[in-house]
Amino acid sequence: MRDNPVKLKLKRGEAVFGTMAFEFFVPGLPQMVKAAGAEFILFDMEHSGLGFETLKELVAACRGIGLVPMVRVPSAQYQFIARALDIGAMGIMVPMVASAEEAEFIVSCTRYPPHGRRGAAFGFAHDDYESGDVAEKMYLANERVIVMPLIETKEGIDDIDRIAAVPGVDVLWLGHFDLTNFLGIPAQFKHAKYAKAIDRLCAAAKKHGKVLACMSGSDDWSREYWEKGFRLFAAGVDGHLLQNALRQSLATLNGLDSAKPKRKAGKR
């Protein structure tokens, strides 16, 4: 059973940077983001239409290249969480976690008995089709998984101190946009209500020794959250990263054209 370098770094209090994928589920994706410097890739199943067969191929493509595959499952259900782990995901993000009980359930889906209620199958994708001592594998599997509830609803914030206290929860991942939406202040990241929710989230993480995480949409955003204590960041989303770079390129090309003012004004 391979270990999970991202989890080891987080345990040592180190920062970890990766990326998120919603669209470019192709054979080369893991290696190209690894080559760009990402330490993990978080595959989205909540909003992308990604299914398990494609996910299994992508996770297999992470094998041997030192890139940690993590998955955002669509919802807090055993069948999503256990299956994602069985095909080799090393971290599980669950959207809209609203209570400590839900967080406990999520953790139990990721752990073999007696620590949880995950059904076992070995010598398959998640342990690299290797044979070996089953007890040791179960120990290592329990150790390497990263559990990341998304805190993105009013309920999640209201119960944040209890959620953060749940053993086996490693990371509190801020869903910044949904949080504003569920607080009734869509995309108002300067709103006092939002700021107060973030303060509560940060305090709970600090108190219970949990890692704070979020998306990094820009350098300014990342700096702000770094200063709040966030240490796990997903730097952008595949499709948007491509669009940003392409927009910049096309602006350059169109600039070449307007440098030669030969276009006729008006008409059409």
Binding site: D219, L241, S249, L253
Partner: protein, 261 residues
């Protein structure tokens, strides 16, 4: 038969900007690219491992978006050219063109008789599965198909004038990396021999009325080649664009993380 706005613009002396695609053959890709303002996607079959099924899928996704699907086929062969046009490619790029005979083969493979020797099937993907008048369709196909030949070897350079004089194709593309490789100056784009080759291609394009095209790996490169007269530019490749944006973002994170710890 839908028209090809990229070909129309280029033949009118305008420019067209797009990108190369070698990896992201996914359902959202054409729209993701279209949303940025790109005018064409050059789908690569030469180096990407993509097959015609995947190309047909991507080309179908371009339908209705107003983005022009072009394909670089692996080699100057009839079955690549005709079949990719059949599935709806609005233009074909052919790599490593070295002789006028190859250029003629490309033209013959792309056009229906009497202009060429392409077998016909209509009411299929290429004409959006609609019926209609056959001579009109043939004229429409002829008008919209953009043929681009890559000059990227020393042999192609030797035969440049004969190649450029072949009627029925539209554009001379350089393959800057291969050209430097085949000239023995691997990757040295300032080498006098390489630059002289570029000048010859530009002159041949001007003389024979062929649109000049190139990929551009950087802003500086794009600026240089635009100034030389290149009007069809594929700026970047799907995954290199993603990598550039991602590594920039990750470097940003690392920089202030280093500063803060």
């Amino acid at each position: 038969m839908r028209a090809n706005p990229v070909k129309t613009k280029l033949l009118a002396g305008g420019h067209a900007f797009g990108l190369f695609a070698m990896e992201f053959f996914t359902p959202g890709f054409p729209q993701i690219v279209k949303a940025t303002g790109a005018e064409f996607i050059m789908f690569d079959m030469e180096h990407s491992g993509a097959g015609i099924d995947v190309m047909k899928n991507q080309i179908a996704l371009c339908r209705g978006l107003g983005i022009v699907p072009l394909v670089r086929v692996p080699q100057a062969q009839y079955h690549f050219i005709a079949r990719l046009l059949d599935v709806g490619a609005m233009g074909i790029m052919v790599p490593l063109v070295e002789t006028a005979e190859q250029a003629e083969l490309v033209v013959r493979s792309a056009h229906f008789p009497p202009a060429g020797r392409r077998g016909a099937a209509f009411g299929t993907a290429q004409d959006d599965y609609v019926g209609g008048n056959v001579p009109e369709k043939i004229a429409g196909a002829h008008a919209r198909t953009l043929l681009m030949l890559q000059i990227e070897t020393e042999v192609g350079l030797d035969n440049l004038d004969a190649i450029a004089a072949v009627p029925g194709f539209d554009s001379l593309w350089i393959g800057f990396l291969d050209l430097s490789n085949f000239l023995g100056v691997h990757g040295d784009y300032q080498h006098p021999e390489y630059l002289a080759a570029i000048d010859r291609i530009v002159a041949a394009g001007r003389q024979h009325g062929k649109v000049l095209g190139t990929a551009a790996p950087s802003e500086e490169f794009a600026r240089d080649y635009y100034a030389k007269g290149f009007r069809m530019i594929a700026y970047g490749t799907d995954f290199t664009l993603l990598q550039a944006a991602l590594s920039q973002r990750l470097q940003g994170l690392s920089r202030f993380a280093d500063g803060a710890t």
